[in-house]
Assembly symmetry: D2
Homo-oligomer: 364 residues x 4
């Protein structure tokens, strides 16, 4: 289904980095959900730049909802969000078809689209497309919150620096949502920012790992084959530019454990069934167990670097040196986390709407 | 779409561990593909037990193709494979609804299906369902091979023991396909087997990491949003019971690198465009670049262990001790690899058929 | 999605007329639905022959449910039904690739499948495949009935003979379900049967029109774009071999009316909102309005006739005479009606499960 | 999938009659297709009003393509078309939630969307949404034409007046595309226009039947289950507001024939396999046979009429008289034909791209 994700709640993305507008169509929404434009704007702000450590491309991300909302609430029909591209400097990108940037989709897009793609600024593959994704996700995050389902992500590791571990508590999750640079430990956050600035100074970039927790999901969501919660989330999250790994619960570390160390014992706390540990990240057999859903996302260092790299010049057929000019982030990890939250909201809203019906997200 | 995966080539799984038969429907196949029943049988053998280190459940996995094949070739209509369950000892599993096994889908299935699921032996969530998946995958692996597309997986790490690194070369990939215990280093393989046997002696189990490489894929497969090669593969691979992580290329390690270390420089070798390194695992922007596709899959230790664990007895509401009796694997990593190969073949056959048309897999 | 229909409740068909078995996988069912095997058998009987007016192919249609049912109820996992082909006389069909039968899919299948299809008896395109469809539909019809949703079809017209008009009343719908030859007027029924027998005597065949009514659907089902109730039903019903037209409410006759004659005025009867007439067939803007859903299905005369026809002999490239031997129905209209009911149940179960959630069909 | 149609080539519609913009996202297009904006504009003109016989809502339908086109050609990424709503007089529609118009989706939408829908002018269910559908369809019609696949529709019958029969010849099909009022017989066309004007004078409306032919389709397109060419086309065409019937070839008339009259004999004309007649409309077993594809679409009379009708006033719970004011068409048949052509192009482009690959529409 290409640029559409989801079964009952679906998101379609369109647009190119240097086109007039980019946008998203969100379909299958329960009618009657409040649409909080201020919250959408604040989520878009989180996706954007933070002073020295982010790209100098400063777009206001003024969005326009052109359908699917009436009197401040969703109508249940497709909701289209448009975001104009206002701060476009296409000259910076003029030669990427001829001299593809390493680590970017310049070469693969040229092959896939037979050279007809809009190559400017990465075109349709640009991280810029995450803006409408975040705007759409904000509506879903709001809706999930009214059902006491909370999603939060922190920068677990960046440039070799670890944040404090996510406990996770609801309190922590709520706080993370408001932090521009989402860490639990301020000290770790300062070191990370310093590492980003250092990379920028070197004309280089750094990567990192995000960790996400979701509270309040009912048990019994997901399928053993093939629409496991892990599978659906991973499918969507691997769309986020730069993501190279997704793992749940203990993830790759669980492969180091014995069964007796990795299994989560069931217990009862009051009326609730819980597990004493959460190595599985709240999922067994692809289905939620009612514990917090936890997962980690590996984000590669930004491929656009000023440092000289080798690439091919397709006009001459010879290898050439390349220094990527233009405005680029020395890291995208901190910006990617709101995209991860948004994508997570999409997958969960889809699963919940499929399980409990189209109107469930609104129902009292 | 629940128990169906794929868009142009689709696989539907059905059955329960202790039902009369389990099976798969493979649809969207090119007509005219040879169906090599001996190869299917050999792949099913790879999925099954290897002496002391695998489950004592010994099923011959006699499969029957009841549709979609005529005169030894695919017809282009749905191909249904049935595998009877012949060696079923249901008594072993009688109490899992009441006393759910930690790490299994007993509890989550009971919630999801309202207690109506066939709980015996894990029911529909059982790893037993990978048998028809492997049988179907064998047909696709054969078809891909005629197009010079090769898929191979080794046990990269098990119980803390590393195999030799996958180079990867075509030679290696071809060899891996024939090894019952798929390692590159015999010495590492012996240590791994010893570790599995030791875990068995302890009534415990071990996990590991598989690494897969695919040769011969054309550049230009996959979508930036949302059907990236990474997203589609991860979606399908997370269905395999016990998988908790999927990563591409350098995976989580890429987050430790700088951009200048992580980018893959383009170069030319004769007529071919290559990258000098392959940190990205053959994918940029969700699209193949013609280099080997590489990814890693984290498999947790088998949750069924003889060692005493804590769980809940739903009849009394009290915590209780549980020692899982019955026949179980002290490790599933070595068996999971042929499942990974099969799932990979499904995803790639689907992508290739979508890209080049329904008949491409047969065409000269 | 080829041989799979549906979004939340899905049906996958597989098999060939002369293979060992044909079957269906029904997925997305609510767990806990009773499975009444006697009712399934009786529906399969309705699909089969009635003495002189139907094909001499007499299969018992012994079905086997191999998955998805436990202790007499659905588990919520894929339900696979197998029906063996026991009364196969392949010799009758040996030359259809070379000399395609007019009105059949012999030629179109040969082109589509590149000559690799199993041509015997129509192969995968055979009306025989409606048997598993009817078996699966029976489970859904039972489930809908417990929710007071009733589906019934009569032979509105056959060989130029009209049945009495469908009022429709619930009483009528309930009665139609039990009649082997589904007419409201016994006199009309006798004339129709006589016409069928006469066609048989002539080595010819007759067609007709079915009319279906559904009671008890809630208002608000369906989408304006593109998954209208009309669109989904038509999509599925056009799969039934021989169907060449589908219309809703007044159908093609509505094109003869003025707006003031065609509009259905709203009124109130007690607490219920109704329309005084039902020209629209219970659907406005693609969405149900709570009135009976009504539609008509045009079924062509059976293409297999003993009368001599012209066709091509592909071996010589010359025109040739053909008299279709073997066992064939002089009409399929009366047999198609239970297929229409089954397909209707599938579409409605899918819509209802999407609207109200996966478990709605079971819920009190 | 609600507001998205298609598998390999997909169309998503969004917008409301009185929102700021309506639009469509067309995805899965071959890269490199020329985009002829003048042809899009001319198709939009065909959809709009013709003097006295169409609605007085005069929008210029100025469209904007905001993505997926670069240097005048498709990029292969999602193509979004926006059309502003400029001539909106919302006051005309203020009371439809309270006093639903017979024959409209006012009541069914209110139920479906829980009263949250934008009811003005029919909201999302408005025929206005066919404008972006026609704009998107124009791009596909152009692409199909370069492959010698021609689609044409005439008004076969309107208000009881028959047009001359569609032969069909390629010449006829090409001519129909350019006629604002698409009839073959000028005399019939004049009578039809007179009937429309008469209905307008009476405050009433008329319906009709469209007939479509497609030339140049290869044999072998479509599936026996469930994605027959008939099923896919009907699914999409029933989305067009006011459509109540779809039939192929002889349609409902075929039910009146005997098998010997209805079967199409195969013959050879030079190198081509043809059928001597075309009762089946170019489709057997759901699959194209290479003959012209023909089908008929029943369009009901416009439900908006000035004549007094009965309806319910939901505020009082009482029946009330209603005369629909505002600007309305006394017939939509002549405007619907370009929508039918567009929808047909979508279905065929989807089928062809699935069969022959993503780039086929561009390939030489």
């Amino acid at each position: 289904m290409k640029n559409t994700f989801g079964t009952n709640v679906t998101l379609t993305l369109f647009g190119e980095s240097h086109g007039s507008e980019i946008g998203a169509v969100l379909d299958g929404l329960a009618p009657g959900l409040p649409v909080d434009e201020a919250f959408i704007a604040s989520q878009l702000d989180l996706r954007r730049s933070i002073g020295a450590i982010s790209t100098a491309r400063h777009e206001k991300d003024e969005f326009r909802i052109v359908s699917g909302v009436f009197n401040g609430r969703t109508t249940g029909t497709p909701l289209c969000i448009l975001i104009p591209n206002t701060d476009v400097q296409s000259a910076d990108y003029a030669d990427v078809t001829c001299v593809p940037r390493p680590g970017h989709a310049d070469y693969t897009s040229a092959v896939k689209y037979g050279g007809f793609n809009d190559y400017r600024g990465g075109g349709h593959a640009s991280g810029r497309l995450t803006a409408p994704l975040v705007a759409a996700g904000a509506i879903l995050l709001s809706a999930l919150r009214t059902k006491e389902i909370l999603i939060g992500t922190h920068i677990s590791r960046l440039a070799g620096i670890d944040d404090a571990p996510l406990t996770p508590s609801e309190e922590e999750i709520r706080q993370l949502g408001t932090r521009p640079f989402a860490v639990l430990s301020d000290a770790a956050g300062e070191k990370m920012r310093a590492a980003i600035e250092e990379a920028a100074t070197d004309g280089d970039s750094v990567g990192g790992v995000l960790e996400t927790a979701v509270f309040g999901l009912p048990a019994g969501l997901g399928e053993p084959w093939f629409d496991s919660v892990e599978g659906l989330l991973a499918h969507a999250i691997f769309s986020i530019p730069g993501v190279k790994g997704v793992s749940f619960g203990d993830g790759f570390d669980i492969a180091e454990r014995s069964g007796s160390e990795a299994n989560d014992a069931f217990a009862r706390v009051g009326d609730r069934i819980v597990t004493k540990t959460n190595h599985s990240g709240g999922i067994q057999g692809g289905i939620t167990n009612g514990m917090p859903l936890t997962f980690r996302t590996a984000v590669k260092p930004t491929p656009s670097i000023a440092k000289t790299q080798k690439t091919l010049d397709f006009s001459s057929g010879e290898e050439t040196d390349l220094s990527v000019s233009g405005r680029h982030d020395p890291a995208i990890v901190h910006r990617a986390r709101v995209v991860v939250d948004s994508v997570t909201a999409l997958v969960l809203a889809d699963l919940l709407s499929g399980r409990f019906g189209t109107d469930w997200l609104r129902e009292g």
